[in-house]
Subunit: 212 residues, 2 copies
């Protein structure tokens, strides 16, 4: 299964709390977007439920329609952000591409997303402390999607036959650090050029070409 | 400047508090080792100064000889761990090596270190929240050392001439994620084999060799 086949991400609220109306879905969306800003700015410990509802412009009661606690909306937010990253990559992968172009497109989509949603790093990283299992799940599912893509590239004869899960973790780490350094900590680098730079390592390594 | 030329790491306590005797240095070492365990197990917020002195087997007064607060020993610990990682890499790089073997040796040393000091991830990662400037400095100095190594490899004609700081960040991210997944979260993988796997990406990329 490639990333393009991944199921639609769902906002993870307990099933008895899932919104049933369009208006409810909009309120839930507002709460999650407000939570991203609140947790991104203040961190988990300093963030407050009233800070979230104030930013969302909703009543406190609306919050409790969907979530029981700050922990619960934080977890839902991590799921929501994982889903958004997945969606961004999925769109970039819609036209079928050669294996290496696929990695460049997925990374480019991720870097654009990180530039637009700088708070994602702080939220995912803080998740390591607030909810270690969700932190692990976020990276494990991302690595699993990448491993699937590598396997598709092996099957098509484009990629080295010995690639596996560990190579996916290596590539994911590369992407995460480039995003942190060049999309979040500074604004100068062009996401597409940065994706090509990373892709050049995957295409040819870092050694000087023989015969040069 | 290669890693091998890096200055000796120093334990960062304010200069008026630096131990003057061998006994003092030993006490400071005990406190830092105890702090690594305490912060690694409980995290910054739940960790306590008495938890640290209990583990170190020292009196509370000894703590305040060297540190004013939990924040201060946490910062000193991050510096201390950065220094230890640097020392481990430095040792591995003592015999002069070809450029790619140098990257494999440095990564192998880091992976061995991570396996032996699993708490390093939690401590460095939590530093993002406790002391963002120190978190950034940790990765920036590591990337600067790697960039220097890449430049030395360009100068010797072994590496691609277009390599720079961003490639160092990519390689560092690869290493950090392989360490997290295969040294800290599980114990099966051999550090040296994992270093060779990463090095194979740097040597040849992930594409199927032409003519295969």
């Amino acid at each position: 299964m490639t990333t393009a086949d991944a199921p639609e991400p769902k906002v993870s609220v307990p099933s008895d709390k899932a919104p049933r109306t369009e208006r409810g879905r909009k309120t839930l969306r507002k709460l999650l977007d407000a939570a991203a800003l609140e947790f991104g700015e203040h961190g988990f410990h300093e963030a407050s439920i009233t800070g979230i509802t104030r930013r969302a412009g909703t009543a406190l009661g609306s919050f409790y329609t969907y979530f029981d606690s700050k922990d619960e909306i934080f977890r839902a937010l991590v799921d929501d952000m994982s889903g958004k990253v997945r969606e961004a990559a999925k769109k970039a992968l819609e036209p079928p591409l050669p294996a290496l172009d696929r990695e460049r497109a997925a990374l480019g989509a991720f870097l654009h997303f990180a530039r637009e949603h700088k708070e994602i790093y702080r939220i995912i990283d803080e998740c390591e402390f607030v909810d270690p299992a969700a932190f692990r799940a976020h990276y494990e599912t991302t690595a699993a999607r990448m491993t699937d893509r590598l396997r598709a590239g092996i099957a098509s004869g484009e990629l080295r036959e010995d690639l596996g899960e560990a190579h996916a973790w290596a590539i994911m780490g590369m992407n995460v650090f480039l995003g942190l350094r060049y999309m979040v900590w500074s604004d100068e680098a062009d996401p597409d050029k940065m994706a090509e730079l990373a892709c050049s390592i995957l295409r040819e390594g870092i050694a000087r070409p023989r015969g040069d």
